[in-house]
């Protein structure tokens, strides 16, 4: 145990002193700071808040009742007497688009719209502005202003998710929660890729310069793998911690100055705790798998190629994200959540919209079992192939070794 600790310390120190580690760790917060600084600079240079020009939409009213409520949040409606005048202004760029309300509009409900852009469909802001403008004028003499407003916007949802016992549930979904869980999954993937790269490189180097023989004459292969994976894992956790703390620090600045999306992000402690558990477990599983690859691979380059299969497995949930975004207990989601190599990423991404407790517990148990199993197998492979310098064992050799293990 003591020896494993010394290996952990050695690997951790080696990793955090690497220039590439320092650059990656500091780059993310720096980009954040830079983003906020640049935004504020641009604002200062352009003299206060960046003003968004409300687009103008022209209309020709052939019914004769559409004259009020021309100031809409998404657009300003400008009346024209003739289509020719509107067309001229459209070409000049004074208005963004124009539409004709024909005389039989009340009976048929058809508008003719003209714009210079080829679009899939009219932009939502224009469509809402036109709709609200029409409703306001149609109802102006029929109902009160309040009713008109309700017709325009019948409801605003305030969602509360309850758990089975009727209490307010931990995961309330929403954009902020999504962001956090996807952010965690991306960070895990990034960490797995960088750390496993270091692990592979380190192992192959030690094999090439024969330090490996001295190491294995001092410690067991199991201690060596565990020490390396945990040491690099600790460095990975420090990296994540730095990123999280800088997010926490930068978020208030970002939400107060930029607002919008940033204001909706929050850090629910429950989600963070479970994400950290999955981060650690996922990291351990892939670290150990990579150590096995490092033992077999004769060069770092070969190692990278061989490890691609595991990297693909780790990233698989991203390819099946459609199911995860839809949420619920679709069979694909359940399988991805329970299958150890895909579990960390899938569960992290699903945390945002809620995932049954039994799935979390089962997947954690399966992950731990998988970690113990792969550690034992990797230690065997390590022992068998580590000292076969310059030779790549073929698939049959590996399978035989695993069977013997």
């Amino acid at each position: 145990m003591r020896k494993t600790f010394f290996i952990i310390k050695h690997e951790f120190r080696g990793m955090v002193k690497r220039t590439s580690y320092i650059v990656t760790t500091l780059l993310l917060p720096l980009v954040g700071v830079l983003g906020i600084v640049i935004y504020n600079l641009v604002q200062a240079l352009s003299g206060g808040a960046v003003e968004v020009q409300v687009p103008k939409i022209g209309y020709i009213d052939q019914v004769g009742i559409f004259s009020e409520a021309t100031q809409q949040p998404g657009a300003e409606l400008v009346a024209y007497q003739s289509a020719d005048g509107a067309k001229a202004d459209l070409i000049k760029g004074d208005i963004k688009e124009y539409f004709i309300i024909p005389g039989d509009y009340i009976a048929k409900g058809v508008l003719e719209r003209f714009s210079l852009q080829t679009e899939l469909q009219p932009g939502e802001a224009s469509a809402t502005a036109i709709k609200d403008f029409l409703i306001a004028n149609l109802l102006k003499n029929e109902v009160s202003a309040d009713i008109t407003a309700r017709v325009q916007t019948p409801y605003a949802l305030e969602n509360t998710v309850l758990d089975k016992s009727g209490n307010v549930a931990e995961g309330q979904g929403g954009f902020g929660a999504y962001i956090i869980s996807y952010l965690f999954s991306l960070l895990l993937l990034l960490s797995i890729f960088t750390a496993s790269g270091f692990l592979l490189q380190g192992l192959v180097e030690e094999k090439e310069n024969r330090v490996m023989e001295v190491l294995l004459s001092s410690v067991s292969s199991r201690q060596l793998i565990a020490g390396k994976v945990l040491g690099l894992g600790a460095a990975g956790l420090v990296q994540i911690a730095i990123w999280l703390v800088s997010f926490e620090l930068l978020l208030p600045f970002a939400s107060s100055s930029i607002g919008g999306l940033f204001a909706s992000i929050s850090f629910p402690p429950g989600i963070i705790a479970i994400s950290l558990v999955y981060f650690v477990l996922g990291y351990l599983l892939f670290g150990i798998l990579m150590a096995g690859v490092g033992a077999i691979a004769p060069t770092a380059q070969m190692g990278q190629q061989m490890s691609a299969i595991f990297s693909m497995m780790a990233a698989l949930p991203f390819f099946l994200i459609v199911f995860i975004i839809q949420g619920g207990d679709h069979i694909v989601n359940i399988i991805l959540s329970l299958f150890p190599p895909t579990a960390p990423l899938t569960v992290m991404m699903r945390l945002g919209q809620g995932i049954p407790l039994w799935e979390i517990i089962t997947s954690i148990v399966l992950l731990i079992l998988a970690i113990l199993g792969t550690l034992s197998l990797s230690a065997r492979i390590f022992r068998t192939f580590l000292l076969m310098y310059g030779k790549t064992p073929n698939f049959r050799d590996v399978m035989r070794s695993l069977r013997q293990a």
Partner: protein, 297 residues
Amino acid sequence: MPAVEVVDVVKTYGDKNVVDRVSFSVEQGQILGLIGPNGAGKTTTIRMMMDIIKPDAGEVRILGNSFGEESKDLVGYLPEERGLYKRMTVLDTLVYFGTLKGMTPANATVKAEKWLGRVNLSAHRRKKMEEMSHGMAQLIQIVATVLHDPRLLILDEPFTGLDPVNMQLVKEIIAELRGEGKAIILSTHRMNEVEALCDTVFMINKGKGVLHGALADIKRRFRGNTLIIESDGPLGELRGVASVKTEANHSEVVMADGTTPQQILEQLVARKVAVMRFEVATPSLNDIFIQIAGENR
């Protein structure tokens, strides 16, 4: 009790017996020369002794116990081709390897400082390994091997890359360690070093042990029937001699079967020939090595 006993170890890769029922032992305070041609199975034998690879059959015992994880702290191993962590400092490297052999960091630091002084590298202890010359790195490797005061040392080609001064230093260290009662296995192709340092020799060829015993006994066994005699005057006619070849200042006398050196010497004394040198030609270990390796080819 022997420091290490290797009993009938076997290692097979595919259908090739790389090491085939090899047995030998080394007593405490003894140096064994492990010799053999390239690819004979020396390194595989050493790796099995160090538990880096498991033997398919047979056993390795360290101080009477089967080799286990705890035995690793009793052994110091200097592999043949070596490298160190380039970006680490000399002292950090030594302390790291010391702690992996069960030392506390504080103890490892004290011992490392002491040993660096012994090999005249104290001034370099804060330098990075990549700044060290080949010979300096070699000395540091040797220090890493002996730092934790092991009972058994396995040194694979320890003299590679050393200048004559450092070579002498390492020989002195090896002799000192033997004096402290450590068992040492010296694997090398330098037969003159084996002759100078080793008490016993084990030769392996094509995976099999072909020569084992005390160096003096082996040389006696391989002694030929040739005498080298230097005298003032001619030797004259001698009984029991197959042939005589006279060189500028000595004669090589090949004895007939059944003749002993004593009988030849008696004839010369009787004849009152002034003998300056009378020597039974003993083959060097190098000659014995070439002879055995040639026979087994």
